[in-house]
Each structure stands twice: as C-alpha cells, then as structure tokens.
C-alpha cells in the first residue's frame, strides 16, 4: 500500500514538472472512479465522458496547486464533481436541453417490464448483490432527484467508497456537514426506493 502511495507521490511530482506520461499513469489509475462518479452525478454517458476529460485536463494544468496532504483522488474528484455540478445546474436552467438528453439516451423503463425483470435475479454471483438494469435505473433516478450537495456526498461515499474525511476534502466542507448531507440523502433515497419496493431484491425489501 505504501509502495503504491510512494509511486503515486513520485508520479505526482513528475507531473508537476510537466511530465505528461507520468500524469497519464495517474489518469489510467483514476479514470474509472472519476468517470464512474461523474456518470452517477449527471446520469449520461456522453456528458460524463466530457466531464472526465475536462477534469483531467484541468487537473494537469493545476497540478502545481496540489500539495500532498489531502488524498489525490479526493482532489481529482473535487475537480470532476465541480464540473459535473456546473453541467447539472446549466441543464436545470435550460430544461429543454435535459429533456433532449432524456428522450434520446435514457430510456425510462416501463413499470410492466420492470415487474417481470425484477423477479429473475441472476444468481451466478452470490457474493455481490446484483441489481437488474431496471433497478439500477431506478436508483440512478433516485440519485438525480437528490439536491446536488447530498447527491455528491452520497455518490462519493456510498457508491465510490470514499471516507467521510475524503468526501469533506472533495466537497471542501466539514465532516459534520458531510455526515448531515449523507444522512439526509440516504433518507430521501430510501423514501424514493420505497415507492418502487416491488422491484427490490426480495431480501432487500424495505419493511
């Protein structure tokens, strides 16, 4: 673990001297989490890809402003989630744009199809709970209904597995604020999922 941390420090130092190849190794290491978080925040693959690419550009340009201490991934995720939030606010201001996205790229599943598909859960991976495409869609919709600050906190903490401390670094707030955002976000999400309880895996139904 410390070996990886050392490598990372080394790569960051080289990147700060303008070494693109070193920075690209960091990109390869973090692109999945940055893209994944962006995707969950905006709910659109194309936009998430744009956000991710822009975030890595911005990170490389501003890497001199990264001073160790804070986790590098929290720092990267701060840049990308800011860009994702900017995009989300822009889309909210012009709902026609978001409507275009929705109709062309995000097919909302019909309830009938959902009911049929939720029952046959694939059982080839007993370790992890597998969510059907449709349930994933429901959770994604629930995330998109959260206020931005709660959404970002939930995605970073519960989806991407950051600690409260890292979430606080990423969102530039206190741990107390993170704690409150996460709890409010989870409560809201639970209410939302409760409205679709028939789709939840049997042993995960909320009672």
């Amino acid at each position: 673990m410390s070996k990886i941390a050392q490598d990372e420090e080394e790569l960051i130092a080289r990147s700060q001297r303008g070494d693109v190849a070193a920075f690209n190794q960091l990109v390869l290491h973090y692109q999945q989490i940055v893209y994944g978080a962006a995707y969950r925040m905006v709910g659109n693959a194309d936009v998430a890809a744009d956000v991710t690419q822009d975030a890595f550009f911005a990170a490389f340009r501003n890497i001199s402003s990264y001073h160790g201490g804070a986790s590098f991934r929290a720092w990267l995720l701060r840049i990308s989630s800011n860009l994702a939030c900017d995009h989300w606010r822009r889309v909210q201001r012009h709902p026609a744009e978001s409507l275009e996205y929705l109709t062309e790229e995000d097919e909302t599943p019909s309830p009938e199809v959902l009911g049929a598909l939720a029952s046959n859960e694939p059982a080839d991976n007993p370790e992890e709970m597998l969510l059907t495409q449709e349930l994933q869609g429901i959770i994604q919709q629930g995330l998109e209904k959260l206020p931005l600050d709660q959404r970002v906190a939930i995605i970073l903490c519960d989806v991407q597995g950051l600690s409260y401390e890292e979430v606080a670094e990423s969102t530039q707030t206190s741990i107390g604020t993170v704690r409150s955002r996460i709890s409010r976000g989870r409560a809201r999400l639970r209410i939302y999922l409760d409205q679709h309880r028939e789709l939840l895996p049997r042993n995960y139904r909320l009672t």
Binding site: V20, F23, N24, V27, L28, Q31, Q32, I33, V34, Y35, G36, Y39, R40, A45, V47, A48, A49, D50, V51, T52, Q53, D54, F56, F57, A58, F60, R61, L83, D86, H87, H94, A96, E97, Y101, M129, L130, L131, Q136, I139, Q140, I154, C157, D158, V159, Y164, I175, R179, S180, I182, S183, R184, R186, A187, L189, R190, L193, L200, Y204, L206, T207
Partner: protein, 241 residues
C-alpha cells in the same frame, strides 16, 4: 438514562452505520438500539439502501482519458482553458439551423414592415402627400421614380371619379404590380392593367384600391411582422440555451 428513550435520528443511524460516530456516541446510541425495535428497523432499512448504492456497478469506460502530448502542451492551454461548454456533438447542427431560421424570421419581419408602411403611410400623409407616398412606395418596392411619375399622372387622368386623395393608394398598387411584371409599362393602360389584376369586377377602382388593397397590405404586413418577430425571439432564445 433519559436520553436512551429518545429515538435515534437518521443522522445518528447513518453515522453509526458508517462507524463515523465517536466512541461515546456509539455506546450511547447502541444502548438505545438494543431496546428499540423501531430504530432497529430504521437502521436495517438504511443499511439496505446503502448496500444497494454500493452494489451499483461502475459504468464501462467509453474510452481512455489519457492526455495526448499536444493537448497537454502549454501552447494548447488557451484552447482547453474553458472546459465549461459541455455539449454532445450532435447538438452542433442546431445552432446553424437556428441561425438560418432566425435570419429568415428577421427578413420576414422586415418585409412585413415594408408592406405595413406602404399600406399605412399613404393614408397618414393624405392630401399633399402624393409625392411622399410615391417615393415611399418606390423605395419599398424598388421601382424607379420615372415609372411612378407616369403612373401617377395616368392614375390622375384615368380615375376622375375617385376622390382626389385616393389617387395615393393606387400608386402603391400600381408600382407593386409593375414589380411583378417587369415589362416596360405602358403609360396609358397601366392603371387599368393593375385594376384588372387586383380584381376582375368592372367598377372596383375605388373600393379595391382604397380598402382591400391598403387594408390587405397592412394586414399582411402585420402578420409578417408578428410571425417574423416571434421567430426571431424564439430562435434567439433557444440558441442561447
């Protein structure tokens, strides 16, 4: 303890779940939990919610996001400095189409203004405004002044029964017709020619020139201005979006 009887808030349950509570808090909250089925259920529900979030798969990467050497060059910085406008590529067609539509709308509105003025101005400048009206309509329909002069003269002679001031509006129609038919105008039958074009009825000079034509032009002008203006505003707005 009195505090143990109070139900735990979602925030407390949430922190407990994440083991982000202090040791003292945790001990106190767990003491309550052990005796409170309601809070236990709430904690279970919360845990399930978190489990589902955690089970969300990572989306497949659409491509690699490594920076190309030239893109990361300092010279390329100004280009990528403003990463804010994030738009999918397929929307790029729209601004162009919108621009064209907007221009067409503006043109329609301007033509409408011309129609409107050519209908309204003569009525306003009634009386001594014969020359003004002819110059207005000539500029509006881009017909040279000599033709106007001749038609004006012939209109005066050919329609003696019409009210004197009504000779103004025939002018505009006459010139408008001569635009449609660019053949050299015959000075003597030009007004009757235009009358035949506007309406086949034999006694229409007064009615048609004064009411229908002027009102028609005003109406058409207003319609064009309205539609053009609407288009102009509409496309301007959505273009900014």
């Amino acid at each position: 303890m009195a505090q143990d009887k109070r139900h735990l808030t979602t925030e407390q349950l949430s922190a407990l779940l994440d083991k982000e509570a202090s040791a003292a808090e945790q001990a106190q909250w767990e003491a309550h939990l052990s005796t409170c089925p309601q809070c236990q259920r709430a904690l279970t529900a919360l845990r399930q919610t978190v489990a589902m979030l955690h089970a969300l798969p990572q989306p497949t990467l659409p491509r690699s996001f490594v920076l190309s050497m030239e893109a990361a060059e300092p010279s390329a910085k100004p280009v990528v400095v403003a990463p804010t406008p994030i738009r999918p590529t397929r929307r790029r067609l729209n601004p162009y189409v919108r621009g064209v539509l907007r221009t067409v709308s503006a043109l329609a509105a301007m033509i409408g203004v011309v129609f409107f003025l050519s209908g309204v101005l003569p009525a306003l400048v009634r009386g001594g405004g014969a020359t003004t009206a002819s110059s207005t309509s000539s500029s509006g329909s881009s017909v040279s002044v000599p033709i106007n002069g001749s038609t004006q003269a012939s209109a005066g002679t050919k329609v003696p029964t019409a009210v004197r001031s009504s000779a103004i509006s025939p002018l505009a129609t006459a010139t408008a017709t001569s635009v449609v038919q660019p053949q050299p105008p015959n000075t003597t039958n030009q007004p009757s020619d235009s009358a035949r074009q506007s309406s086949p009825s034999p006694e229409p000079t007064f009615l048609i020139f004064n009411l229908s034509t002027a009102a028609g032009r005003v109406g058409l002008g207003m319609l064009l201005v309205l539609l053009g203006g609407m288009g102009w505003i509409l496309f301007k707005r959505s273009r900014r979006a």
